[in-house]
Amino acid sequence: MIRLERVTKIYAGSSVQAVDNVELEISEGEICILIGSSGCGKTTLMRMMNRLISITSGIIRINGQNVMDMDPIELRRGIGYAIQQIGLFPHLTVYDNIATVPRLLKWDKQKIDDRVDALLDLMQLEPDTFRHRYPRELSGGQAQRIGVARAMATDPPVMLMDEPFGAIDPINREVLQDEFLKIQAKLKKTIAFVTHDIHEAVKMGDKIALLDAGRLIQFGTPEDLLVRPKNEFVKDFVGADRALKRLDLLRVRDAMMTNPVHCHNGDPGAKILERMIENDLNFLLVVDDQHCLKGYVKLENLRGHHGPVEDVTRPMTLTVTPDQNLKEALSKMLTYDIGIVVVTDETGQLVGFLNTATMVSVVGETYDEHGGRWGKITADGRIL
């Protein structure tokens, strides 16, 4: 746990508070995002936590202990520290980079060897391939993973991360973020995470602390900032498209409708056509005997068709799982011209679907411009 009590920083020769009376608590096992535009004090705040920058006034406690009472060198060795990939030592191999802090702490060689291998495995980098590479032989994403692995070398309970995924292209950044969240779900570190990217903040943060001109403007869950921005500044910062950003936060499982209407691939076409016309359906999902999704049929394909449904079934490869977020679901939905995205579990079984109406309803339910509700949705997708 990291506790900041009225922390203030005034740089020598300046009269401005770079950090002004910040009161903050990062609970154990949580990622707290420090965000703000450049010069807002977020990096200063983070760097005071391991005393890379001295504290002008106030107290920072890590796991109850005032950092000013600790030897700065000991303090830093006990805290994971990851910065942009550039922070890897170019003259040392991946192994030596990761072994930096273990060596400072005088671990024996066997223990370091085991730890390096375990971390490379954790980062999904083959130890035998990567152990002896130099940072310049790594891709951006690989270097970033090594940076994170190095910060985790001694399994510190608390980590400080300064835009650790900053120098990476957007696609790889998403991948790294996902991987890191998976690791974090297992390891439950207490993390102070600096970024200027609100998208990253919403995705990674259990809590977000938004800073401006050294002051803490709003501190809360990503949901809080998006749904209940405290003032105009927060509103502007999270952006007018925050309804869209909410899609990042919501899981398919919370929005999907279960038990969609479907038919089996062996069903006779003519009968299905009749049923569809009766129920005013344009298309129908098709499953096999194991309830696995096979695709969908459209009304016009069934007209004049006498064989089983599977002959005219169109495949549907872009599906989502219940754990994915609504943004991914929306993107896949837009790929097909039937206006829905189908939800399957890991084994391919049909579990539900989402359509535009459910999306609008779920996002709108928790947020709209005037604080009202857009209403509930019925099981067949109509909005009340």
């Binding site: 000991e74 520290y81 922070g87 890897l88 003259h91 191999t93 802090v101 400072l104 130099y134 310049r136």
Partner: protein, 217 residues
């Protein structure tokens, strides 16, 4: 042709002079490294000192070598070493300071501050950052300075023959006095060959010492 004949006839003496020459240069450069590198590192902590030290080293460089040898004579006569190898070594040490100090200073200063920050942030002491990060990363530029100093010292070392330090300069000066071209040529040739060979050897040593990770571009 005549130069080859001279070599063939005097190869034994050439080797002796080479040895004298190399010895003076080796001692001078060894001392210069042991002083220049620490000074170069030290002045990275102190801007004012850096300015002064680099200025003084620059001024020393501008003194013509023959004049510097001349200045050495009265100064070192106090300890009875006015001529011979001692003033030669002292002069070469002084000349070598600038390239070594300047390169060390620039190389240490130029280490990416983010990398130093990573080291400090992970709990390295100032000394550990210097030993484990800055110096290894600066090594190749420091080495470049040392190589300049060595090659320069071999060249200037030839002039030291004028104050009785021996070495290959002996042939050059004697050759000039006697208008004996073959002698001048062989002295000059030997100096050049020595410079090239030593520079090459240092290149090999550099390759061994500097981390492979820094040579990948």
């Amino acid at each position: 042709m005549e130069t080859w004949r001279f070599f063939a006839l005097n190869w034994h003496e050439v080797l002796v002079l080479c040895w004298q020459h190399a010895w003076v240069v080796a001692v001078a450069v060894a001392i210069a490294i042991c002083t220049g590198v620490p000074i170069g590192i030290w002045i990275t902590f102190n801007r004012r000192a850096a300015e002064i030290v680099l200025y003084v080293a620059g001024v020393i460089m501008t003194i013509p070598s023959i004049a510097l040898f001349g200045i050495m004579i009265p100064l070192l006569s106090i300890i009875g070493q006015g001529i011979g190898t001692v003033p030669a070594i002292v002069a070469l040490v002084l000349y070598s300071q600038l390239p070594i100090i300047r390169n060390t200073y620039a190389a240490i200063k130029n280490v990416d501050p983010n990398i130093i920050d990573a080291g400090v942030g992970m709990g390295m002491t100032r000394g550990q950052v210097l030993r484990k990060v800055q110096v290894p990363m600066a090594l190749s530029v420091i080495f470049a300075g040392v190589r300049v100093a060595v090659v320069m010292s071999i060249g200037i070392g030839a002039i030291a023959a004028y104050i009785g330090a021996g070495g290959l300069g002996h042939y050059i000066f004697m050759g000039i006095n006697q208008s004996y071209d073959a002698m001048i040529n062989s002295g000059a040739l030997a100096v050049s060959v020595m410079a090239i060979v030593v520079d090459y050897i240092f290149g090999v040593i550099e390759k061994r010492l500097v981390s492979e990770g820094l040579r990948i571009s």
